[in-house]
Structure formats: C-alpha cells, structure tokens
C-alpha cells in the first residue's frame, strides 16, 4: 500500500461469519452462486472443490475454513466471488455479498497486533467504518499460503 492509495479505493464488501470483509473491486471478476461443487479428494481442507462456471473450471476456496472458522450451518444460499489469479479462476465461498464502498485512506490501518494469526495471514489491513470494522482481504495471501501448505 503506497502513495497511490491517497486516492480513495473501491471495495466490495463480503460477510463471513458476521464479519465484514473487503476485496478491492478491481480484483473481483464476478459474484455467483456456486452450484454442483465437486469435492477433490486429498486436497487441502480449505479447498471446497471444483466447479464449472460458464465453461471454466473454478477452484472454490472455503473462506470460513481458510479463516479457521466452523462451516456455515446455512448451506442453501452460499455465495462466491470469482477472482483471477495467475490465469487461473478461483471462487471464494462466503456467506453474503454486500455493497461497493469507496473508502478514504485516512481510515485505513494495518492489522492490529492481537489479530488471530490465521486472519492476519490473509488480511492486508483494516478500515474503520462508522459502525463496524472492515477487514481487507489480500488475494495473493489468501491463495498463496494454501499453495505453500499444500506443497
């Protein structure tokens, strides 16, 4: 996060286990409701499986597990945000999608030191919103670390 962030950035907000998260809008390809996820045996626990999104094979990441949380009880309406990373398609499975926010740099700060390591691993920092806090997800970290674990 360097000087260019003086300009306000746009984020899509997501809800995972009642916590508000943000993803830079430029990173997000689309938002979809995943159907027919095929689980992949022997894969890391965070990997929910693979699915077909308009002819592309998308690897679905269970964000709850990625954050060390229990699985959601409500399995009917899951949502996913599609992202492209290194020419591959990924879907982050989350509870809900919120709105698009334009946020000023002033309200941003780095991860609090007492943040759970599992969360700190994937978070780029926190925005102080009026009513709540918004944890910014770092896509590289979300995907990279699993790769390291799996390797």
């Amino acid at each position: 996060m360097s000087s260019e962030n003086e300009i306000a950035q746009e984020y899509i907000t997501l809800v995972i286990a009642n916590q508000l998260f943000g993803l830079p809008i430029l990173e997000v390809q689309d938002v979809f409701m995943p159907e027919k996820i095929t689980s992949v045996p022997l894969s890391a626990a965070e990997i929910e499986g693979v699915l077909n999104l308009r002819g592309r094979i998308v690897t679905a990441i269970n964000m709850r597990r990625r954050l060390g949380l229990d699985d959601s009880k409500n399995t009917d309406e899951i949502m996913a945000v599609g992202i492209e990373y290194n020419d591959e398609s990924y879907g982050l499975i989350i509870d809900d999608v919120g709105e698009v926010l334009k946020l000023e740099k002033d309200n941003f700060e780095s991860n609090p030191t007492n943040l759970d390591p599992k969360w700190a691993q994937v978070s780029a920092g926190v925005y102080r919103l009026e009513k709540e806090l918004l944890v910014i997800l770092d896509v590289n970290k979300v995907l990279n670390i699993i790769e390291l674990q799996a390797a």
Partner: protein
C-alpha cells in the same frame, strides 16, 4: 531450399534479434546473470546448429563470441568494448546469414580480425594492450576500458582445447594440473594458456569445409520458391478457439439431453445437424494443435550422420513411435531439448569405435529414441548403449561447483549423483567440443521441459549406457476416458491405461479375495493386485449394511461361522467393478462401485493449488456440466507401490548401486513352519486356495486333496508338517500342464514388488537362498525342488513320449536367481540343462564342443554383451548359425521382438512365462527337426 537450412535461418534470425535486445540490456545491467545466461544459450544454439549444417564461418564466429560470453558468465568484468565487439560479431553473423538466404552458400571471406579481437578479450586483455585496432563500427569502443588481469582458469582451458594440435600441451595434462591445483591458483594455468598461439579460424575451417560443400550441393536441388501452404497462428488464438469449442460441445450435450426428454420436437433435425457440425469442429480444432512427434525428429538422422563423421563413431539411430501425437505447443518446446540430448548421447554417451570393441560391444553405437503415451502423459526416451555416466567425475564436479559437500555426497545414491548433470553450468566432458560440453546443455533441457510441466529423469548403468526419460503431461488434449463412480463421486480414467473391465461378484468366478489386507483377484491364472478407489483417494466409504448377519449361526461350528460371516461381509462389500489398469510394467485393478460411459473429455489442467496431488492429472467438464477429476494412472501406480512397501524405495536405490538395472519381481510372501517369512515369485503360483482340513485324504504316505476333479498332492515346506487341527489351511497351488500340486503354508502375508538381490548361501533343500525384503531376511523357495516330490514321474513322464531323445539346452543369464529358477523348470520339461553366466562363457562352451547343445536360451539384458549381440555373433559363426536360440526377457515390446527376430532369435519369451518358454522351446525344436 533445404528444409533444415531454411528453418535454421528463420530460427537464427529470430534468436539474433533477441540477442541484440538482451545484449543492450546486459550492458546496462552487467550483473544480471539471467540475461547473460539467456544470451549465452542463444549463441550456443546458433553455434551448435552451424556446426551441423557445415557453416564453418558462422560457427567460428559464434564460437569465439560464446567463449567471451562464457568468460563473462564465469564472472569476468563486463566492458563496453566487449559488448560492442560481440555486437559487431553478431552483425557479421547477420550479414553472412543474409547472403546465405540468398545464395544458400556461405559467402567467401573470413572474420579473422573480429575473432582475434574476441580472443584477446577472452584472454583478459584489452584491444589497446594487444595493439589491435577495432574494426568497423567499433569506433564507439572506449579505449579507457579497465584492464582485466584476473584470468579465469576454465576460460583459459577452453581456449587451449580448441587449438589443440599434436605436440602441444595435451588436455589431460592440463586437466591434471587443474585438478591437482585446488583453490584459486590460476597463475600456474594462465602462462600455459597464453603460451599457445591463437589461429583458431584456420584450425576450424579446413575440417568443416568439405562437409559444407557436400551439404550445399544437395540443398541447391530443392525448389527455393516452395512456400508451405500455412500461416502462423498465435497459440493463444487456438487456445481460445479450443475453449470456445469445449463450451459449444457442452451446450450441445445439454440441448441433446433436453431433447431426449421431449418426444416429438421440431428441434430434432436441426439439433442433430448442430451436433454433427460441433463434432467436426471439435475435431478440426483439435487437429490444429496436434502434431506427430516425428516432426521434431526429422532433423535428427542427419545430425547423427554428421556427428558420426565428426566424432568418428559408428552410430545407429533408432526411432520408435514417431507417430505419437502431441500438442503443437508442447512439441515446439521439446524440439530443442531433444536435439540437444540426442547430440549429447552421441557425443558423450557413446564410446569411440575402438573403445567399444575393447569393451566387447558391437562397434556400432546405438541411440534409441522412443515416444509413447503412458497414462495422461507422453514419454520420450533417449537411450544409448554407451559407457554410462561417470559417477566419479560427476562427484568431483559436484564438489568443485559447491553443489554439495563431501558428506552429503557420501550419502547420495549413484542415481542421485547422476541427477546433478541437470544442474546449471554442469558439464563433465573433458573436452569442450563444438558439439557440446559447455554445461549449458542439460540445464537448458531441464528448464525447457519443466516450463511445460514435464520432468526429466535418467538411469545410467556404467558400461551399459544411459537412458533419459522425459515425461510431458498432456496439458490440453481430448482423451477418451472411462467414467467411474464411487458412492456419489465420479472420476475419469484415461482409456489408454485401461486394459479391461471385470465385474466382481461374490458368487461368480471373479471374486475379490484378501491376503491379509491386500485385495487380489484371480484373473486368467494370475493374481491381480487390487486397490479400492475410495481407499486410495481417502474417501469415507458408506458401507452397505450387512444383511442376514448371524442368521443361522447356532447350527455351525464356531470356526466356520466366523469364516462365513467374513465371507458374507466380503461378498457384499466387494461387489463392484474392477478396472484393470496397466502402467508401464505394472498391472493392477481399481475397484469401483459403478462404471458409466466412455466419454471424450477435454483435459483441463488442474489448478496450481491442486498440483501437488499426483493422483489426478487434470479435470474436465462432463456433458451434464459437472466437473470431475481425471485420475492419473501413473500417480496411482506410484501411490500403490508406495503403499505396498514404502521402505523398499530406499532399498531399491541402494541396490541400484550394485549395478543392477531396475528389474523388479512380484513376490508372494508367506509363513510356513518358522516365523521367518518365505517368498516365492508370484508368477510361479497358479492359484491361492484354502482347503478344508477335513477334505485332506492321506494315501500311501502322503496327503491328497480333491481339487478340480483331480487328486492334488499336498506338500509341506521342508521339515514342517504341522497344520491346523480343523478349519481351513491356505495352500499355494502350482500347476504345470494338467497337473497341480499344493504347497501347504501357515499364513499368506502379502504380495510385494521388489528388486531381488538373492544370496545363494543356504545349503538347504527347497530353498534357493535368502534375500532382504523390507529389511527382513526372507527365504526364497525353490519350487523346482518340490515339483518332482509331488509326482515321482514329474521328470520322467515326458521322457516316455514318442521318439523321445533328451535335448541339451544351454541357458545364458547373468542373474543367479533366474538361472536357479529356470534350470529346474527346464529340467522338469525334459531338457538337460547347462548354464552360463554370460554370452562370453556361453560362446566358449559352444565353440569348445560343437554339437553339444541342441538349443540355446538367452537373456537379453546382460552386462558386457547383451542377448542381441550374442545372437548376432552366433549368426556370424558358421558352426553356430543353425543352432536355434530363444530370447528370454523381462521387457517385451514389439520393437524388442522385431529386433530379436532380425538378429536371429527364433522366439522371444517373457521371463516369467514358464509355460510359454516350454512351448516355445518345443515348437522351435520341432520346426528345426522338420527342416533338417
């Protein structure tokens, strides 16, 4: 124009453009090793190709430029002067190329000046010091370039090598001096190097000139104006097309699915048409990407021919599987590494004719290039029958290059040491020839192969040769796959690996049986190891509830009840389909719940997050839109052999030290009498049976049991005649023709695949020797010892046959195990057997006493002289020419069989195929008899 030449021109011009750009970058950033490495490789390639095309002028220039760059790569300071000079030489190369493309002949003239200047710089002097004036275009050169006195020893050696003439300091001396002077001790080297004159152009030119003339004469006959009817299309464009087609196929399938549910629809006819068009489109797009690997091999025969002249070696290049198709993109990437590796094999792998004769090999060195599909991969093998890698020299290099410490080295297996040839900057060639040996080779090969997600491996046996194995995944291809199901999951298994499907049912003859926890299936008198898909994929299995359990338990004895219950459980659990898979030499069965269709699937690479799972080669989208994983039969085979005995891996690699090629044997492990495990080659065992103790009928001092309508004698492992009092007893059944005998054992333990290192040191009847299997001493049973015990007439009965005369047979095999195993088998078949440990001993026996033998049986893979050569030698000898010889090999391939016939083998039999061997011998002798 000559295909080779025109291709060279296109490639070289492209490379040179890259070099130009890179060099300028490099000048700005002289510490960037990546850029330098890249330039160095490009120039190296140009140089190498020039050499083969007979373009001495270009070659000399490129070589001189490469030498200077080599110095920079080794750490010399980069000067503007140097870079300018390299640029000038590149310009010269371009000029020559321009002429070449017009006239197809290298223009007259020489570039001595430029080359001399390049050498001056390579030696660490500046041009000003050497009193040389920069040539045209070099006015930019700044005379203030710092002087470089730090002469690099390797660079110095390289210079001398090229100039080597009779009477001068020999390379070996230099090498010796270099080795005996550890540490940065260049002072000794440098004077020697500089003492030598530098007339390189003269030295290089006369040698290559005649060849150039010959090559160009041929090329002029070709039609220059011939332009290929093709256009270049960006691979990305094709890739996109392919994706779109895949989606179209998907949509079509969905539409057809909908149509199936509606009876009378107006859509029917147009949809049918859409379907056909889609299929054709799919095929067409696929074709645009696929090419036979033979395209990448076209250049090789010529390269080998020229090399054969240059190096004065007789080389025979064999190419198998040229029609194997692979993705165009993959093909492009594999082309250069392949050429390089073949060159390497010819240059470093094969010995000179004189050395070969000395080693008792045929004087023609052999390089075999083969390509085939294995599972979802394409395997390309480059095998030579040369001297193999020099482990000692590689070890030295590893230490010298600081790749490993002495301690680490001591712990490495020979194979691990060999793998270091793939490290960057590694070359073990003493002589840096223009062919290869600068150490760019193998690391480029590895990098290029890894870029496309493949890997390269090597096996080298001293004195026998080296085999490089390149494995490239089919990243994008349509393959035919069998869709199978376990519980609610579906998986695709590439059809290529599937040999057959067997339906297993508790009541049918195909019943899944268990040996300890290993499942096996009796399939055509062989035991097939089985693995359940859900086990190997670590899936929770939903066991089907066992019905009727304990129904009328009270009426039968406890033993039987237990047996019954487990039977019932097995029956229900073990119903299903068995997909018989063959991967290389390994055959196994995968147990699945259901088998669906065979479908043409589009292999899509799996996500990088899943790349570490070797069980899957990719994934695909099925007609119904769902994604399924594609099973990689190779990965599965690896997993299975790991499961079967992970401890063996280390042992095997240790055993490889003992100079053995990777012959593995399936052994059936069991216990009988003592606690020590015993083993017998699985292939000798016809069946595993459990007999009821109550069925055993003692008769005339021995035990018999009713088996398949006959009485089968039961034998006991020497000295142990104990059995369970009641219940059942496991028995190994050995059959020969229509006779069977049963060997009573206490417990069947396992089936393992291992390399057998047998020690014949137990003077005990019935035991061939002992071997270390899974770290435990195991007795290997001698089945031949028991056969005559079962039937007193086992040996004699054949002798009673009509007009019987005992035939005398010579068995040649380097493995004591096989000699000991086959001798009794052959004796049992009525032959008088004599053994020889190698063809040399065999030839001695044959020549000493002509007419002593009626037939020869020979192994193929043997040190010193292999079976092919043996047969050839016999064929050339007028006394031995008519003696029938039968080949025995653990590797049976159509190529080998063909080769065998060519050199004069009457028949070719698999090593463990006892029946086949006996039949082949009989037939061979009968035909001989008729002919005589």
């Amino acid at each position: 124009m000559d295909d080779l030449l025109s291709e060279f021109l296109t490639e070289t011009v492209e490379s040179l453009d890259v070099v130009d750009v890179e060099l300028v970058k490099f000048e700005k950033d002289p510490n960037n090793q990546d850029i330098l490495g890249n330039i160095f490789r490009l120039v190296h390639t140009i140089k190498g190709t020039c050499g083969f095309l007979g373009l001495p002028r270009l070659e000399a220039l490129a070589h001189a430029a490469e030498t200077l760059m080599g110095k920079y790569r080794d750490g010399a300071e980069v000067t503007t002067e140097g870079v300018s000079l390299i640029l000038i030489s590149l310009d010269c190369i371009k000029d020559i190329l321009a002429e070449l493309s017009e006239n197809e002949v290298e223009p007259e003239g020489d570039d001595e000046q430029v080359i001399a200047q390049l050498h001056t710089l390579s030696e660490g002097k500046t041009l000003a010091e050497a009193g040389q004036v920069p040539t045209s275009g070099a006015s930019k050169v700044e005379a203030s370039a710092p002087s470089e006195n730090a002469s690099d020893d390797t660079a110095a050696i390289k210079i001398v090598e090229r100039e080597l003439k009779p009477g001068e300091v020999t390379l070996d001396d230099l090498e010796a001096a270099f080795l005996s002077a550890p540490g940065p001790d260049e002072v000794d080297e440098a004077p020697k190097a500089e003492a030598a004159p530098a007339p390189t152009v003269d030295a290089a030119k006369p040698a290559a000139a005649p060849k150039a003339a010959a090559g160009e004469e041929g090329s002029q006959k070709r039609d220059k104006a011939l332009q290929p009817q093709s256009i270049r299309v960006n691979v990305d464009t094709l890739e996109t097309l392919m994706t779109m087609v895949s989606e179209l196929v998907l949509t079509r399938n969905q539409l057809l699915e909908i149509l199936r549910r509606q009876d009378d629809s107006d859509f029917k006819v147009p949809l049918q048409r859409l379907s056909n068009v889609t299929a054709e489109l799919q095929e067409g797009v696929m074709k645009t990407r696929m090419q036979a690997i033979g395209n990448a091999w076209q250049k090789l025969p010529r390269i080998i021919r020229d090399l054969s002249n240059d190096l004065d070696k007789k080389i025979d290049l064999e190419m198998v599987g040229a029609e194997t198709e692979l993705d165009r993109q993959v093909l492009e990437m594999i082309k250069d590494p392949l050429t390089h590796m073949v060159r390497n094999s010819a240059d470093h792998g094969l010995e000179t004719t004189a050395e070969r004769i000395k080693a008792g090999k045929s004087e023609v060195g052999k390089i075999k290039l083969s390509a085939y599909h294995e599972g979802g991969h394409i395997i390309i093998e480059i095998a030579d029958d040369g001297k193999g890698l020099n482990t000692a020299k590689i070890s030295e290099k590893i230490i010298a290059n600081g790749l490993a410490s002495e301690d680490e080295l001591a712990k490495m297996t020979e194979n691990q040491i060999h793998k270091h040839v793939f490290a960057a900057g590694f070359s073990t060639a003493d002589v840096v020839t223009s062919v290869s040996g600068r150490g760019v080779g193998m690391d480029v090969v590895r990098t290029n192969i890894e870029v496309i997600g493949g890997n390269v491996d090597l096996v080298s046996v001293t004195g026998k040769g080296s085999t490089f194995k390149i494995k490239i995944p089919l990243t994008l291809a349509i393959v035919s796959a069998l869709i199978v199901g376990v519980d609610e999951h579906r998986y695709a298994i590439p059809q290529l690996a599937v040999v057959e499907l067997v339906r297993a049912h508790g009541d049918s003859e195909h019943r899944i049986e268990k040996i300890n926890n290993s499942r096996v299936l009796r399939l055509r008198n062989k035991l097939l190891p089985l693995v359940r898909l859900n086990d190997i994929l670590d899936l929770p299995h939903n066991p089907i509830t066992i019905e009727n359990e304990g129904g009328n338990e009270t009426q039968i004895s406890e033993d039987e009840a237990e047996a019954k219950t487990s039977d019932v459980k097995d029956d229900i659990e073990e119903n299903g389909f068995i997909v018989v898979i063959q991967v290389g030499p390994q055959t196994f069965g995968i147990v699945v719940d259901r088998v669906f269709d065979t479908e043409e699937i589009v292999v899509k690479p799996k996500s990088s997050l899943l790349r570490s799972i070797e069980m899957f080669s990719g994934n695909t989208i099925l007609g119904d839109g769902s994604v399924i994983m594609i099973i990689d039969p190779n990965g599965m085979a690896n997993q299975i052999s790991n499961d079967m005995g992970s401890t063996e891996i280390e042992e095997v690699s240790n055993e490889e030290k003992g100079n053995r090629s990777g012959k593995t044997t399936s052994l059936l492990m069991f216990k009988a009498g003592s606690d020590e495990p015993k083993a017998v080659p699985l292939s000798l065992v016809t069946r595993l049976e459990e007999i009821k103790i109550s069925d055993i009928e003692p008769s005339a001092g021995r035990d018999l049991v009713q088996y398949r309508g006959q009485l089968m004698p039961l034998l006991y492992v020497e000295g142990h005649r104990e059995m369970n009092e009641s219940g059942r007893q496991p028995v190994l059944v050995f059959s020969d023709d229509d006779r069977s005998m049963g060997l009573v054992v206490d417990e069947i333990l396992d089936i393992i695949e291992t390399q057998l290192e047998i020690e014949i040191n137990v003077p005990q009847p019935g035991i061939l020797g002992s071997a270390l299997i899974r770290g435990q001493a195991t007795e290997i049973m001698d089945v031949g010892y028991y056969l005559p015990q079962a039937f007193d007439d086992w040996f004699e009965r054949r002798e009673l046959g009509e007009s019987y005369k005992q035939k005398r047979l010579l068995l040649v095999d380097d493995s004591a195990f096989f000699r000991n195993m086959l001798s009794p088998v052959l004796s049992a078949a009525g032959y008088e057997v004599k053994t020889a440990v190698d063809p040399i001993e065999a030839l001695k026996l044959l020549r000493d006493e002509p007419g002593r033998f009626d037939i020869v049986v020979s192994d193929i893979e043997m040190p010193n002289m292999d079976g092919f050569m043996f047969a050839e030698t016999m064929n050339k000898d007028k006394d031995l020419r008519d003696l029938p010889i039968v080949a025995l090999s653990s590797h049976i391939s159509p190529g080998a069989i063909e080769r065998g016939r060519e050199v004069g083998f009457y028949d070719y039999v698999a090593k463990f195929d006892r029946e086949g061997l006996v039949t082949a011998l009989k037939e061979t002798l009968e035909t001989e008899g008729e002919a005589a």
